[in-house]
């Protein structure tokens, strides 16, 4: 159980960083953008987005700032910090290495052993 959640959490963090790397977004905006990019394929439990946002802000990877939304309402906009950009880069690298590794393992056929 625990390991799966950790993995998911780590993925969610990465997705959030990616989402805000394209421009400042409020929490709801982050949700919409992830859904949009993923072609509505990913279902995110809405409430769990916020602890992740707070954790990322606490760690200094994203910075929150209060501003005005499209419909003229007060909303907190998150943007990527320099540290966050580095983190996103590192995480992307790691993710790519891991997926290619796992893909290679999964592609293996009996002849190759």
């Amino acid at each position: 159980m625990g390991k799966q959640i950790d993995l998911l959490q780590g993925t969610l963090d990465m997705l959030i960083l990616k989402a805000v790397s394209l421009g400042p977004l409020h929490g709801y905006g982050v949700l919409l953008r992830i859904q949009q990019i993923s072609g509505e394929q990913l279902e995110i439990q809405q409430g769990s987005l916020y602890p992740a946002l707070y954790r990322l802000e606490h760690q200094g990877w994203i910075a929150g700032e209060w501003g005005e939304s499209d419909n003229k309402r007060k909303a907190k906009f998150y943007s990527l910090t320099t540290a966050g950009r580095r983190k996103l880069h590192a995480e992307t690298e790691k993710w790519n290495r891991m997926t290619s590794l796992i893909a290679a393992i999964l592609r293996t056929t009996s002849e190759e052993i």
Partner: protein
């Protein structure tokens, strides 16, 4: 990783918690409403959309909780809830809380008070500019066993100009002077130094100016600087005081400046603080011609040049002393090995009281430990009652670490409340407490509660909290789940785990109590021995008073200039004293027994070197003794026993052959195998001075304090060699208070300008000389008593608790045929066994701690068998008694009731 960002974020949350909390809600609301708006766009009704959005979002509170956890301030929230919980417990158990807070307040308060004294006296630097560079300069003659001998003006100049060690040097003459001119003549403490005295200390005046090189005068300067205290008392803080004249010992002096309120002279004083400060050049009248061998200066103080270490400075001075010995062999006889030594000024001021203060601090820390062990016992007893609560918490998923934290928070809350109460008590009562502290402890006027003291008090509170919180906390964390819940609120027996922990607490409590009691026992025995010790005379029915003849700088103004004039005064004084009704006998002495504790002060009796006729000067013996001038009836008034020869007579006066009486110590030390009667001695090294013949031997009189033995004394007749500082001793059955007005009246009929001070019974004088010993003995004794009380409460509490817990077992035992005696013995054995272990451990530790107290003891060895026998026995008896009452209650358990309760 990225610690700075996280710390900043933590801080932000802790400081702005409430605002950020609101923002959190705003953010969530924005999310839900935005989503709802989208659902409405997709065709849902407003109400339904909101409902749907809320469901989709999930539990708001739990998400908020997760958000707070995400920023790492959950522990902060938990602390808050623990504190609230602790607070509720705190006043739901008023009896427990009151006992804990009161004992803690007592412990922490006592610690705060004692530490504030330690801090002021030992820890804080002297209140001068760069105090580390101030040193006391000693001139020693180790070859003849003399330390801190006087020095001459040329030697002072050598220090200043030749040594290349000091920025400034000053001798210090401390003494009392008679302030006259207004009403009752007053006796003031005064200091005379060199013109660089104030620049050496780095003082700036409150008004006016201080001495500087421009004031230089070869003799004494005609100006004076006064203290803030005198300025307020005698001049009503008048800013126009500058330029006014006051008379000190008949000399008119112009006031040029007033010192700031906080200024204190850095030195021991005869009584009270110096209030008048003069300066002199020490090279012309009233000083003798500045010759290298004319050693008249005392108490050298210097400021080291910057950047010079003590060792470097000492090395240079040692080298200079060697060079001087070589250059002036006539002034520095080789056998004396004259040399110069420096010591940090702070060390010379407070070094003597350090052992006493450290013992007090140690005692008071032990007390607070015992207090916290006692509270630990209470908390533990309560924890046993809370086992069910703990078990439920554990069952509901609390981690053990979390439980330890909660218990510790509760203890800390308690200890901080107790600590705050203690600090408040100490702050409120410090002035009162200080009145009991003997005034011969230096720097007492600097005692105050500052940040250092508060920090220490806080530290002590936290430490006690840890001590009494940790045991129950660990115990709570170990609590066995199922059994506790099953058992319900009633523990069925004395569970071994808690039991062992409580045993350890009791054992350590007793061990600490033993240490305190042994310390107190040794100090009290010392004190008792000192009081019982024969001081060499009979102090009862003796009244004393002090007079100091003026010492004007202008010799024409001195009515007591030479020996005949002083002898006349002495005779007149004695005649008038004897005429007072009720006075049987009267005599004069230069030094009252038990008071000569500050020999370097002017007028104090210093150890002097002397020579014995027909003995080679090169003899390796250390010929030195204290010279005390007395009138003929002195030994008769004190009822001291003259062992051989005769007392002084009225005929031993100026112009007649010089005579001396030696005491037993002198006789044993310098005439171990021959008869000193009829032999001749001479003070100083001046071979032109006449010899004086030893005419009598008297039993030792403890002139230097009851706790100082074996100092050789040579008494001389006041009619042949008198002093300006004198005390009258009267044998009378009347109390001092009754005689005081008459003594004062008679003395001032001779000279209205003479102040009379310190009128007191001889017993009072001796009592005061032991004041600081009595203070420390009483205090440690009080602490020891408290420790015994706390330890017996601890034992009592433990056994009473055990009896309660084991009543069922007792019932079964009795039902199976155990007799009441067996039950009684069972519990008694438990209490006494615990006490025994604690006492043995305490005795072992005491063997170490007692050796550390050796310097405070007199006439008692640190491992005094009586103390080490009585203390354990006494404690064992107390422990047995404390165990007896709960044990007897155990025998009253009714087996039927106990069994039915199951």
């Amino acid at each position: 990783m990225n610690l700075v960002a996280r710390l900043r974020s933590w801080l932000k949350w802790i400081v702005n918690g409430r605002r950020l909390d609101r923002e959190m809600e705003t953010e969530i609301r924005f999310h839900i409403e935005s989503y709802a708006a989208e659902l409405v766009r997709k065709g849902m009704s407003q109400q339904e959309a909101m409902r749907e959005a809320r469901i989709e979002f999930g539990g708001i509170e739990s998400h908020k909780d997760a958000m707070r956890a995400a920023v790492g301030i959950r522990w902060w929230d938990e602390l808050g809830s623990d504190l609230r919980h602790g607070w509720r417990l705190f006043y739901k158990n008023p009896a427990f809380s009151a006992v804990a807070v009161l004992t803690l307040a007592l412990g922490v308060g006592a610690n705060t008070a004692i530490f504030s004294i330690v801090d002021a006296v030992l820890l804080r630097s002297l209140p001068y500019r760069d105090p580390d560079r101030l040193v006391r300069i000693f001139f020693n003659e180790p070859g003849v066993g003399l330390r801190d001998v006087r020095f001459s003006k040329p030697e002072l100049d050598d220090l200043q100009t030749r040594a290349d060690v000091f920025e400034d040097v000053s001798p210090i003459f401390e003494g009392s002077e008679n302030l006259t001119g207004a009403g009752q003549p007053e006796r003031l403490e005064g200091v005379n130094g060199s013109f660089s005295y104030f620049s050496m200390l780095g003082v700036t005046p409150q008004i006016g100016r201080l001495y500087g090189p421009q004031d230089f005068a070869p003799g004494f300067a005609p100006e004076v600087v006064i203290s803030d205290g005198l300025w307020r008392r005698a001049y009503g803080a008048d800013p126009n005081v500058l330029g006014r004249t006051l008379r000190l010992d008949n000399d008119p002096l112009t006031i040029i400046g007033v010192l700031p309120p906080g200024f204190r002279h850095p030195g021991p004083t005869i009584s009270g603080e110096p209030e008048v400060f003069g300066a002199g050049g020490f090279s012309a009248d009233p000083f003798p011609k500045p010759m290298r061998g004319t050693r008249i200066l005392v108490n050298g103080i210097g400021r080291l040049k910057p950047g010079l270490t003590l060792a470097q400075a000492q090395a240079r001075l040692t080298a200079m002393a060697a060079q001087l010995r070589y250059d002036f062999p006539a002034d520095y006889p080789p056998q004396a090995q004259w040399t110069i030594e420096i010591q940090p000024l702070q060390e010379t001021l407070v070094g003597k009281v350090r052992p006493m203060l450290l013992v007090l601090l140690g005692a008071v820390i032990l007390i607070v430990f015992i207090v916290s062990l006692n509270i630990a016992n209470l908390v533990l007893a309560r924890a046993s009652g809370r086992q069910q609560e703990m078990a439920v918490r554990l069952a509901l998923g609390a981690s053990r670490g979390r439980m330890v934290r909660q218990m510790l928070t509760e203890s800390m809350l308690l200890s901080l409340i107790g600590g705050a109460a203690g600090i408040a008590t100490a702050v409120g009562t410090l002035g009162f407490i200080l009145r009991f502290v003997p005034s011969n402890i230096p720097r007492l006027n600097e005692v105050r509660i500052d940040w250092m003291v508060l920090g220490f008090a806080l530290l002590i509170s936290i430490l006690t909290g840890l001590v009494f919180g940790l045991a129950p906390a660990l115990h709570a964390a170990k609590g066995a789940l199922s059994s506790a819940i099953r058992e319900g609120g009633r523990g069925s027996g004395y569970s071994t785990k808690t039991g062992r922990l409580r045993d350890v607490l009791i054992v350590s409590e007793l061990a600490f109590a033993v240490i305190l009691m042994v310390g107190a026992g040794l100090l009290l025995r010392t004190l008792r021995d000192l009081f019982q010790e024969n001081p060499g005379f009979n102090p009862t029915q003796v009244v004393t008073a002090n007079i100091e003849l003026p010492n004007p700088n202008e010799s024409e103004a001195d009515p007591y200039l030479d020996i005949p004039r002083r002898a006349n005064f002495d005779r007149e004084l004695l005649r008038r004293m004897k005429a007072i009704p009720g006075v049987e006998l009267a005599a004069i002495t230069e030094a009252l027994p038990g008071t000569n504790t500050n020999p370097s002060a002017v007028g104090g009796v210093a150890i002097e070197g002397f020579a014995i006729e027909d003995r080679p000067v090169e003899s390796s013996e250390n010929l030195s003794a204290e010279r005390i001038r007395i009138s003929p009836d002195y030994f008769k008034v004190l009822q001291a026993s003259l062992l051989r020869g005769r007392s002084f007579s009225e005929g031993d006066e100026d112009g007649k052959p010089l005579v001396a009486i030696i005491d037993e110590s002198t006789a044993h030390k310098y005439w171990p195998s021959s008869d000193p009667l009829g032999r001749r001695v001479r003070f100083g090294r001046d071979s032109t001075k006449p010899w004086r013949t030893v005419v009598g031997i008297v039993k030792d009189i403890k002139s230097d304090g009851l706790d100082i033995d074996g100092v050789p004394h040579i008494y001389v007749s006041t009619y042949q060699d008198s002093s300006k500082r004198l005390s009258v001793v009267l044998r009378t059955s009347l109390p001092a208070t009754l005689l005081e007005p008459q003594i004062r009246h008679e003395i001032q009929s001779i000279d209205p300008g003479l102040p009379v001070f310190g009128v007191s019974s001889m017993n009072g004088v001796l009592d005061r000389s032991l004041a600081s010993r009595r203070f420390s003995a009483d205090l440690v004794g009080g602490f020891a008593g408290l420790a015994v009380l706390l330890a017996s409460i601890g034992i009592y509490g433990l056994l009473a608790y055990m009896v309660g817990q084991r009543s069922r077992e007792i019932g079964i035992r009795m039902a199976l045929g155990a007799r009441r005696d067996d039950i009684l013995r069972m519990f008694l054995r438990k209490g006494v066994a615990l006490a025994g272990v604690g006492i043995v451990a305490g005795v072992v530790f005491s063997a170490f701690t007692a050796s550390m107290m050796a310097s405070l003891l007199y006439g008692v060895r640190p491992h005094d068998p009586i103390v080490f026998l009585i203390v354990p026995l006494l404690l064992l008896a107390v422990a047995a008694l404390a165990s007896y009452f709960p044990a007897r209650r155990a025998t009253n358990v009714n087996p039927m009731f106990a069994l039915r309760e199951v």
